[in-house]
């Protein structure tokens, strides 16, 4: 039981950190540019494909990861310059329609290039097995690769925190999220800032796609379900807030993971067996949405609203 709990807690942490990589870029695009980007999940998918392809070509996961993320960032740059730059000024309707069109194009293009079958992406050999470690006199096993992902996530989250909280660019970003007009009035090159944030967000979500590739199947449509989870994270955390994105990600990651693992067991203890087996999975799958609804009811602006 302890092994299960610890494993699930770590899984939740790992899932939460990956969600954070996705949500961080997205919340800034929403918050600073007031632009809704449905295609963020597609960038995640394309990132995963890039990493898979580069890994295959280079025969090294780490080189593949670097090249793939760089490639996705380049794609993000092109998209920003050609399309998104025009969308910031437009209404939400146009933004949704255009980014929805991007999803259609991305999914189909991936299908044309890599086929409809999922692409395999293997973790580096050295990390393929589990690690053994002892805690409170007990011995536990946990996949090494997942630990590396957790380390990556914590590292990136820390870096991002320093970037946003301690640097001048970070100050602009925070200023932009809380008051766009003011930022413009201060003479900051907003257009360049927008481009940088967008490209950075793309790189982060491609990184998440590449890191998760070995755990999940790299396939068409993988971006859409995760996009909505990133939305839930942002709704809970508050639009435009990096801190909110981090807290929201960890909440959603752990509640979802632990809920799926523990809720059915818990219900079996409380309810008759057949009722528990029907209700358990259903309840677990909507747990985070119920949580979102609950938080919204008390804090319609999310936990850490960036705008006063």
């Amino acid at each position: 039981m302890t092994q299960l709990l610890l494993e699930q807690a770590l899984n939740g942490l790992q899932f939460g950190l990956m969600l954070f990589l996705l949500a961080a870029g997205l919340t800034l695009v929403f918050g600073i540019m007031d632009c809704i980007n449905l295609a963020h999940g597609s960038l995640y998918m394309v990132g995963a494909y890039f990493v898979a392809a580069a890994t295959q070509a280079a025969d090294s996961f780490w080189i593949g990861l670097g090249v793939g993320v760089a490639g996705a960032a380049l794609l993000g740059l092109l998209l920003e310059l050609s399309l998104f730059r025009q969308l910031y000024k437009r209404d939400h309707l146009s933004q949704v329609l255009a980014t929805f069109a991007l999803i259609l194009i991305a999914n189909e293009a991936v299908r044309v290039i890599w086929g409809a079958q999922p692409v395999m992406l293997n973790p580096p050999d050295a990390l393929a097995g589990p690690v053994e470690f002892s805690l409170l006199g007990d011995t536990f096993f946990y996949p090494a690769y997942r630990l590396v992902i957790i380390a990556f996530g914590i590292g990136v989250a820390g870096l991002l925190y320093l970037l946003v909280a301690k640097t001048r660019v970070g100050m602009w970003v925070r200023a932009g999220a809380s008051n766009r007009e003011m930022t413009e009035a201060l003479g900051i090159n907003v257009q360049a800032l927008f481009t940088a944030v967008f490209v950075f967000g793309t790189a982060l979500c491609a990184l998440a796609g590449g890191l998760l590739g070995p755990l999940l199947a790299v396939q068409v449509g993988m971006g859409e379900s995760v996009l909505i989870l990133a939305f839930v994270v942002i709704i809970i955390g508050g639009i435009g807030s990096i801190r909110g994105a981090l807290v929201g990600s960890l909440i959603v990651g752990s509640v979802d993971t632990l809920g799926r693992a523990l809720l059915p067991t818990l219900l079996r203890a409380l309810l008759p067996a057949d009722a528990a087996s029907t209700l358990g999975p259903a309840l677990a799958s909507i747990l985070i949405y119920l949580l979102m609804a609950g938080i919204l009811f008390f804090k319609p602006q999310g936990l850490f609203p960036a705008r006063a």
């Binding site: 809704i36 309707l93 146009s94 991007l102 189909e108 909505i228």
Partner: protein, 315 residues
């Protein structure tokens, strides 16, 4: 955006359209093109679904990206009714509307407390919640969905052949559009459009803005539920795929192509998009790329929708 007002030629055009649509299955049969009756039924059903979204989005000014949930719930409600032994559409369809409308009421009650990007994301998230609920409900078929044993009856008439189902959809759409057109010109339509234009002003005139929005949202949900119940009869299946959020995106695309806030925006959009699909699929299996490019073109070059390209709004 201007307020809706019926154009002077609207009534004759509407009557002409009704006559043409009423004659369509017989014409198709006469030319041996019965296959297209099913396709035409699909167009009518999606026209109804898209119009219900247009009521919420175009008239109510609420940018919902979770409308497919109500559509899907309508389909499931019809299938569940049949399983429970209710095979009469006159009972099952209103129940489907009630189910979808009630869910819309609950979703609206929470999400209408928010605005802008927030509202878009929250409606999307709640729709996804409904999707997962149906997928994980084994008693409702899970991933596979809930099949209908056969088509229902409408006022005792079995909808088994395509022409009778076509007429069921035709009546549904006609009644809904009649209601929609009257509503737009009635007190309620005035109020929701004015709220879309300037909600603070309406609050300052003494209108409980939240309540009007919520009723409009729930009405849209109920009409989408009717469309879903019809679609379940057409395809013989209540599938969780109906609730997927990309389905909401498709409905949205229809409304935008057809013209947001135009009475017939949803109908025009559904017709254009489904015909486009039908034609493109004949050329390439990767028609989504073409569709995506067309949509990008619409956003960049015809931001007010196709209907706006052809005619001015009357107001």
């Amino acid at each position: 955006m201007a307020f809706y007002r019926a154009a002077p030629y609207q009534q004759p055009v509407a009557i002409a359209l009704v006559l043409i649509l009423a004659a369509l299955p017989f014409v198709l049969t006469a030319f041996g093109q019965e296959f297209y009756i099913g396709f035409a039924t699909r167009v009518l059903i999606f026209a109804l679904a898209a119009s219900s979204l247009n009521l919420v989005l175009g008239f109510g000014g609420m940018f919902s990206l979770g409308h497919a949930a109500f559509f899907g719930i309508g389909a499931y409600a019809a299938a569940i009714c049949q399983q429970a032994g209710v095979n009469e559409a006159l009972i099952a369809f209103p129940l489907a509307m009630l189910a979808a409308g009630s869910f819309a009421l609950a979703v609206g009650a929470i999400s209408l407390r928010t605005r802008g990007v927030y509202f878009i994301m929250i409606t999307l998230a709640f729709a996804q919640m409904a999707y997962y609920l149906f997928i994980s409900a084994r008693s409702l078929g899970g991933d596979d969905g809930l099949p209908l044993a056969g088509r229902m009856t409408l006022a005792g008439v079995p909808l088994t052949d395509d022409t009778s189902l076509y007429f069921a959809a035709f009546f549904g759409l006609t009644l809904a559009m009649l209601f929609f057109g009257r509503l737009a010109d009635a007190r309620f339509g005035r109020v929701i459009q004015a709220i879309r234009e300037n909600e603070t002003r309406m609050e300052a005139l003494g209108y409980p803005v939240f309540t009007y929005r919520l009723v409009c949202f729930a009405l849209g949900g109920a009409l989408a539920g009717l469309a879903g119940a019809l679609l379940a009869n057409l395809t013989g299946l209540a599938s969780p795929n109906l609730l997927v959020w990309t389905q909401s995106g498709t409905l949205l695309v229809m409304v935008i192509i057809g013209g947001v806030g135009y009475l017939y925006g949803g109908v025009v959009g559904a017709l254009i998009l489904l015909c486009l699909e039908e034609v493109l699929v004949g050329f390439t299996s990767h028609w989504h790329i073409v569709l995506g490019l067309i949509l990008l073109g619409v956003v960049l070059f015809a931001p007010k929708g196709v209907a706006a390209l052809f005619g001015k709004r009357h107001g």
